[in-house]
């Protein structure tokens, strides 16, 4: 089953990337090459599909994902302007450090999404995470070294959304 899902996904990506619909017909050679490549990918890499993949079909989760996207892009833009300001300022106003935060998210895909969101948003970069839900964050402008307060400042705004999407 997982192999089948993976095969279909790989073939969709292949179709979009190579676009075999030439002059109203279908380029059979490209499709055959895509089928072979998709089978190889599905057999070799089916294990990296998240264990809880069935949840992504739910329309409620898709809705929350679509709500999350603009929020996420707002923070990404803010992060960029922040880094640009620090990079261009003659005195370079940074006080970096690595802090520790705690997350309440449980599933693998939710924690992955949280770590990636943190990396792309204001002044923070995920360095490592532990099995019991702690993340080590490199912060370009440390405001608090306390676990609770740092969690509040860094992760809270994403956790609420990611819980709705992934859990």
């Amino acid at each position: 089953m997982r192999r089948l899902i993976y095969f279909v996904l790989a073939f969709i990506v292949w179709t979009l990337l190579t676009w075999p619909f030439v002059d109203g017909g279908i380029d059979v050679q490209v499709v055959i090459a895509g089928l072979i490549a998709s089978v190889i990918v599905a057999v070799l890499f089916h294990e990296i599909l998240p264990k809880e993949h069935h949840i992504f079909i739910s329309p409620v989760r898709v809705f929350w994902f679509l709500v999350y996207l603009p929020v996420f892009f707002y923070y990404v833009l803010k992060a960029n302007l922040d880094v640009v300001y620090r990079a261009l300022h003659p005195k370079m106003p940074i006080k970096p450090g690595i802090v520790k935060i705690k997350t309440n998210l449980k599933t693998e895909s939710a924690i992955t999404a949280l770590a990636n969101s943190i990396t792309l948003t204001p002044g923070t970069l995920t360095v490592d995470l532990t099995d019991d839900g702690f993340l080590y964050i490199h912060w370009i402008n440390v405001k608090s070294t306390d676990i609770e307060q740092a969690t509040e400042l860094i992760a809270r705004r994403f956790e609420w959304f990611l819980k709705k999407i992934f859990e």
Partner: protein, 109 residues
């Protein structure tokens, strides 16, 4: 109209890429440089690709551009995470004026 929006997006993308590179040169240590390179270069490249998609309209080119943008959005922070963890594991120190390094403290215990 679409062309104008597309060129504005591409110009913004190139600007962010340039600022990311300036940050890469100016910041003092590996971790701060990663901050500059992942954030600015990810957004800059995605804006470039979205600009290309807007100009070319719905079709094969924009499909490819959007797929590339999605790949970059997922792989770029993951790669930065791997580089930061690898740098820390192989003993690269933080900048001397850094405030705190909880990661190193916890690893010693």
């Amino acid at each position: 109209m679409n062309d104008t929006i597309g060129y504005i997006l591409i110009s913004a993308g190139i600007l962010f890429d340039i600022f990311g590179c300036i940050g890469l040169v100016r910041f003092p240590d590996v971790y701060n440089r990663l901050q500059a390179s992942t954030k600015c270069v990810t957004l800059g490249t995605i804006l470039l690709l979205v600009g290309v998609a807007v100009i070319s309209g719905i079709g094969p080119t924009s499909a490819k551009a959007i797929i590339c943008a999605m790949f970059i959005l997922i792989t770029s922070p993951t790669a930065a995470h791997a580089i930061a963890k690898g740098a820390h594991a192989s003993g690269v120190k933080l900048w001397e004026n850094s405030i705190v390094d909880k990661y190193a403290e916890e690893k010693e215990n």
